[in-house]
């Protein structure tokens, strides 16, 4: 299996200003494209759901048309065991995790960036504190913590997502700390201080804006994927959104019995929605990481 390398013209422009996009590997470009498409689709669907611009009434039960497969009798994605339109319920299902997901991302990123800069910039006790917090959060499996919070407060999805945000913050903090230490290793921070750059500018412009923005964007995409997984798992376990309000998790759960009797579609439609979304956000995060953070851009 031979590989081809070629050079088009004799003289290559002095320093061609190729953007990260044009120099990215083909695989990474595809990942980012697919991921971005999923993200846009989710955003649009969320908006549709929020404005109630839905193809059908999510609660309307068409008893003649129960358990239809995809594109049967005008139902694009078929109907569930009570004859309700699956496509509409899927769109509405996004309400269950989208805003809460954004909340958890907001908490994780702001707290994480703050703690990360503190730990990296000040070092010493602050760094020990963040490391301790990070290990503390990692000590408990997230779902166990969720169950504990559920047992204690019977919380709504927003509280749950706030807890998810809090528990993701140390991970973000560790990544941001890594960036700060990288800049310290190059004496960049010391050199900025020596130039006379005020600490505010060092932290916000140099550390956070220039060096952490792609990192935080990537954490946001992974955070949304996590939100989907958490929400659907909890509603599968019966703690999230309850019937009849649709959530991808409880739709899969509700369809499970029918699945075991051979009607796969009613449970698989929401499951595939979960798969496509989580995969989309993972690929988006991974693609961006390879493009901006990866070192292999030889």
């Amino acid at each position: 299996m031979t590989t081809r390398y070629s050079q088009a013209q004799e003289r290559v422009s002095e320093y061609s200003q190729l953007s990260a996009w044009s120099t990215a590997r083909r695989a990474d470009r595809w990942r980012v494209l697919y991921g971005a498409a999923v993200a846009v689709l989710v955003l649009v669907s969320y908006a549709l759901g929020a404005l109630h611009w839905l193809p059908r009434d999510p609660e309307a039960m068409d008893l003649q048309a129960m358990l239809l497969g995809p594109i049967e009798q005008g139902y694009l994605l078929g109907t569930d065991f009570m004859g309700r339109d699956i496509l509409t319920r899927l769109i509405l299902g996004i309400q269950a995790y989208f805003l809460p997901g954004l909340l958890s991302i907001a908490i994780a990123l702001t707290l994480g960036a703050l703690l990360g800069v503190l730990a990296g910039y000040r070092g010493g006790r602050a760094e020990m504190g963040v490391t301790y917090l990070s290990n503390l959060v990692d000590s408990m499996p997230r779902l166990v913590l969720m169950l504990l919070v559920i047992a204690a407060f019977k919380p709504g999805i927003y509280t749950i997502m706030a807890v998810v945000g809090l528990t993701t913050a140390p991970t973000v903090a560790t990544l941001v700390k890594g960036k700060v230490l990288m800049l310290k290793a190059r004496n960049f921070i010391e050199s900025a201080v020596a130039l006379g750059v005020p600490p505010r500018a060092i932290v916000f412009r140099h550390i956070l804006w220039y060096n952490c923005r792609t990192l935080l964007l990537i954490q946001a995409t992974l955070g949304m994927a996590e939100a989907v997984l958490i929400e659907t798992s909890l509603s599968y376990l019966g703690f999230g959104v309850q019937e009849p309000t649709p959530s991808w998790g409880n739709m899969v759960q509700a369809g499970a019995n029918y699945l075991l009797q051979g009607n796969l579609w009613v449970s698989s439609a929401p499951a595939l929605a979960i798969l496509a979304t989580v995969l989309g956000f993972h690929l988006l995060g991974d693609g961006l990481n390879n493009m901006f953070e990866g070192g292999q851009r030889r």
């Binding site: 320093y15 800049l183 020596a194 130039l195 220039y210």
Partner: protein, 348 residues
């Protein structure tokens, strides 16, 4: 402007002690039983306007720490630093920041001055705006071009990222960034050690031209005695945190009075010439170890050929009689040694 003769920078009894640190100094700390390591121990010197003082010594001798202490990049354990007549040791970071403009630093690491994700244009724009915040965009652009001119870099470099620059170009951008602040004193920490020989020569010439053009003073820190002697008007040789010899560059290089300077010089020359210089101080005469445990009094004693030749006189290792910098030949040339080398023409 203060009178010509009073120095721009006065450093008096500067000391910087670190709490227990592994590696080289651990031996010293354990030796003294204290957890404290005197990285810089009672260092004093002056630097006049338009003058270059070379600070030379092996790695770990405290020369970089001295430089950074002057720039208040690290707290000082003891001693006073006066810049342009003002005592800056007592100033807080806030109070000191306006003065930072006048005292700039060039770091050994070529990437230190450059944010990896920032194009060169924004690096220079930030520096210029720090110095003259009210500059209009036209004047700002002109100033940036002027800076590129000063360090002879082409304009098309402005849109490059640091990763796309060569070593020489990174160093020149670092210098341009420092010059944007219109400094009077530049602490240059090993400015050329990471560069190739031909690029090194360009940067040395550049620094000399800037000195004559802008009237800059340099504290030139390096481990390369030859380079320091070449570039500096006066040279201070440091060993394990102390200045062991200081004086006019030619004298320190050609008529070294401290055995360590002679050893430093001969190991360079010996490395260069084929047969090995017939220097008065044969390098292989002293200990095989890289760094023997430094002792009280003169820290160089364990490696010092004169100490060995004179049958290890007690004076050298007596804590109470630690050698102090004393004039060796009428003022300008001082040395800290009980048995300084005779003032004959040395090697090189």
């Amino acid at each position: 402007m203060e009178p010509m003769d009073s120095p721009l920078l006065e450093v008096r009894n500067l000391s910087k002690h670190f709490s227990q640190r592994g590696g080289l100094f651990a031996a010293l700390a354990r030796e003294r039983g204290t957890g404290v390591i005197p990285a810089v121990d009672d260092v004093s010197f002056d630097l006049h306007a338009n003058e270059t003082l070379g600070l030379v010594g092996e790695s770990g001798c405290g020369k970089t720490t001295t430089g950074k202490a002057i720039l208040k990049l690290m707290p000082v354990t003891a001693g006073r630093i006066r810049y342009a007549g003002r005592d800056i040791t007592v100033l807080s970071q806030e109070e000191f920041r306006p003065l930072r403009r006048e005292i700039q630093m060039i770091f050994q690491d070529l990437d230190a001055a450059l944010n990896p994700k920032m194009r060169i244009e924004s690096v220079l724009r930030e520096a210029v705006l720090l110095c003259e915040p009210t500059l209009a965009s036209g004047a700002l652009q002109a100033r940036i071009y002027e800076l590129l001119e000063l360090v002879n870099l082409k304009k098309n470099k402005l849109s490059s990222f640091p990763s796309e620059l060569s070593g020489g170009e990174k160093r020149r951008i670092g210098i341009a960034r420092a010059l944007a602040m219109r400094p009077r004193l530049i602490v240059a920490d090993e400015p050329t050690s990471a560069l190739d020989v031909s690029i090194q020569a360009q940067v040395i010439n550049l620094l000399r031209d800037l000195q004559s053009q802008l009237g800059l003073s340099y504290l030139f820190i390096s481990h390369d005695l030859q380079l320091v002697e070449l570039v500096s008007h006066r040279v201070a040789v440091m060993y394990l945190g102390r200045i062991v010899e200081m004086g006019p560059a030619e004298r320190v290089a050609h008529a070294p009075r401290h055995p360590y300077t002679a050893v430093l010089w001969s190991s360079l020359v010996e490395k260069m010439s084929r047969e090995g210089a017939a220097s008065s101080v044969a390098p292989s005469a002293w200990g095989v170890f890289d760094f023997e445990r430094p002792t009280e009094g003169c820290r160089f004693a364990p490696r010092c050929p004169v100490y060995a030749a004179r049958g290890r006189p007690a004076q050298c290792t007596d804590a109470s009689q630690a050698p102090r910098l004393a004039a060796a030949d009428g003022g300008a040339h001082v040395v800290a040694c009980h048995f300084p080398l005779p003032a004959q023409a040395g090697p090189g």
